[in-house]
């Protein structure tokens, strides 16, 4: 079953960092998959928040490593 938050996250990541969406897997480590640092990852989360109209405090994302982790944190707020 498709997950709208996760799907949107993968699309936004692909758009922001110019990576083909088919190359991204939900359980990939985002830092490795996108070759980004933690501040760039937070910028991506801001894109996702904008898409779903929520705000997540930075510290809730501290332990998030994969696309699935981020989608789960955002889902709790939707």
């Amino acid at each position: 079953m498709s997950d709208p938050i996760l799907d949107r996250l993968l699309q936004l990541a692909s758009k922001r960092f110019g990576v083909d969406v088919s190359a991204l897997n939900p359980d990939d480590d985002i830092f490795d998959a996108l070759s980004i640092d933690s501040l760039q990852a937070l910028e991506l989360v801001t894109d996702l928040e904008g898409a779903f109209g929520v705000e997540v405090p930075d510290y809730e994302l501290q332990d998030a490593r994969t696309f699935t982790d981020i989608a789960d944190v955002v889902r709790d707020r939707v």
Binding site: D29, Q40, T46, D58
Partner: protein, 561 residues
């Protein structure tokens, strides 16, 4: 500015600042882009007075320890003021550590009280044993035995600040070692007072200056330039609940920020946003812009000139609010090219080099003239020497002076190892002086790395996390420790492994490595055939192994993991 020299301790100094600057704005708190609170020095005095009485009622007095686990916010600084007014010892813990790591440090430091945020308290699997006062608590939260910070009385009588001597411990700051051996640096009041006097002599702040506090306040740099420094100058400290670059940039503008300390990855983010702007320029505009940068370079060759640079390069400066005068960066780990890039645009980065064991900084780059190739000269009060220098003048940087710690909490063995017999602090960093006594850092004589995010990582701690990897022997070392390179940026951890089944070992290592936090990950592997050198008690002789590796292989022998 209140000069710290006549004071014996931080309590009296901060109490005087709260009285002297009355109506000046002390603190501005933002939740992303919205201001949630603005406090004058008088407001801060009122709240810290009430808090100090509450601490006294809870029995906290001279020498007792109070731990803070909070993100950067007004209540961090107010708690610290109250702790110093009570003559107590502040234990500022890193809010970015995991709850388990924080629990280890609470166990080690044994504070009488913990002041924290609900978001951090709820992460603990077992609530810390000591009483906790908690901020930012939602209505529905189950606090258990902990107390809310809210509801402080507004009519508390004046505070009598408890007296302390310059030699008494002011703070216990953990430099690292969340794995095996926590290192809690006991820093006396004299370290802060001496360092503050030296720094204010170089880079004073004025009333009306606005410091943007984004590095964790538990970190030595923000504690000094984002708390005590601005307070004794009557300047304003701005906090924001999110560290995302887009919100930082908007706050730089809306809050008219003048000073800010940064880590290298934030300089990267700022540089990306400037590059994006420049890439969007048409070729002839780009040429015109480059000409303005050249003019700015010529006019600021001897010293920075904010007014000139802000006028010449207005679009760039406007993107950073137009008022930004100085950036501070924790030094050895900043790429000199990047610092030069910002200086050329009229955004000077003061590079400092220091370690927790020596309060805030040992050296700073004084900007007159600007040099990006060195971490600067020793600050006032700090003596530096290069020990056992080789033919090129390179050896271990060692330091002496009033800013040094008293030692590590409950660890005489590590304290003894941190100092030479004649009382100099071993930094573990390799360096040399040039003809003008500027220090150049060239590698490490101790096994550790510092990440671009400013975190100290000790390979021994990472080793403990890789226990389950099947191998005859495995150890983790910093590449820069084995093969010192001429810079201290982009440092890597490598695993040295003795194994009969390399493919099994590597598969397990890859899988475990993926689960580690980014800053603790291994990036390369060196397969090693000989038994590791060990002491009679089977403890690894790391320096001996490192020198054996150095003598027989080069960094090319390391394969990527």
């Amino acid at each position: 500015m209140i000069h710290p020299d006549p004071y014996d301790h931080l309590g009296d100094l901060l109490a005087d600042a709260l009285v002297q600057f009355k109506r000046e704005t002390a603190l501005v708190e933002l939740n992303r882009e919205r201001i949630s609170e603005t406090l004058t020095y008088t407001d801060v005095k009122q709240q810290t007075t009430a808090l100090t009485h509450r601490m006294a009622e809870a029995g906290i007095g001279p020498g007792d320890r109070v731990a803070i686990i909070m993100s950067n916010q007004a209540r961090w600084l107010m708690t610290a003021c109250a702790v110093f007014f009570r003559g107590a010892v502040l234990v500022p813990l890193d809010y970015k550590l995991s709850a388990d790591e924080q629990a280890t440090l609470l166990q080690h430091s044994q504070p009488t009280l913990l002041v924290t945020e609900w978001g951090f308290l709820k992460r603990f699997k077992t609530r810390p044993a000591m009483p906790a006062w908690v901020v930012d608590v939602p209505k529905s939260a189950d606090l258990g035995d902990a107390e809310r910070w809210d509801d402080l009385p507004t009519d508390a009588p004046p505070v009598v600040v408890q007296s302390r001597s310059r030699e008494d411990v002011a703070t216990i700051v953990y430099s690292s070692g969340t794995g095996g051996e926590p290192k809690g640096c006991m820093l006396p009041h004299r370290a802060y007072l001496s360092q503050l006097g030296a720094l204010l002599g170089e880079f004073t702040m004025d009333r009306g200056d606005r410091y943007f506090s984004i590095l964790p306040t538990n970190h030595a740099i923000d504690f000094m330039v984002g708390f005590v420094g601005p307070f004794v100058c009557g300047a304003t400290v701005v906090h924001q609940r999110s560290l995302r670059p887009e919100f930082l940039r908007s706050t730089l503008k809306t809050q008219q920020i003048t000073h800010m300390a940064v880590v290298p990855i934030l300089l990267d983010a700022f540089k990306r946003s400037i590059d994006d702007k420049l890439d969007a320029l048409s070729p002839w505009r780009r040429t015109a812009f480059n000409a303005l940068v050249s003019t700015n370079k010529r006019l600021t060759q001897k010293r920075p000139n904010h007014a000139v640079s802000a006028k010449l390069l207005k679009p760039i400066h406007d993107a950073f609010g137009g008022t930004l005068k100085l950036l501070f960066a924790g030094g050895a780990f900043v790429d000199p090219g990047k610092v030069g890039f910002f200086y050329d645009l009229g955004l000077p980065v003061v590079v400092g080099y220091g370690l927790t064991e020596a309060c805030t900084v040992l050296t700073v780059n004084r900007l007159e003239p600007f040099r990006s190739d060195s971490v600067g000269r020793a600050v006032d009060g700090v003596q530096l020497r290069i020990a056992n220098a080789n033919a090129d003048g390179i050896g271990e940087v060692q330091a002496k002076g009033p800013t040094l710690m008293l030692g590590y909490l409950n660890d005489d063995e590590q304290t003894a190892a941190a100092f030479t017999e004649d009382g100099w602090l071993r930094t573990g960093d390799l360096g040399r002086f040039d003809a003008s006594f500027h220090l150049h850092l060239l590698g490490r004589s101790k096994n550790m790395i510092v990440t671009a995010g400013g975190k100290n990582v000790y390979p021994e701690d990472v080793e403990a996390l890789l226990e389950d990897v099947p191998a005859e022997e495995l150890c983790v070392v910093a590449a820069n420790y084995v093969w010192p390179k001429q810079t201290m940026t982009d440092e890597q951890l490598i695993a040295v492994i003795r194994t009969d089944k390399a493919s099994d070992t590597l598969a397990a290592l890859r899988s475990q490595n993926r689960r580690l936090p980014e800053h603790k990950r291994i990036s390369g592997v060196l397969l090693w055939d000989d038994e590791f050198p060990r002491t009679a008690s089977m403890k690894l002789k790391r320096p001996v192994l490192a020198s054996a590796i150095r003598d027989t292989t080069t960094a090319d022998a390391v394969s990527a993991l």
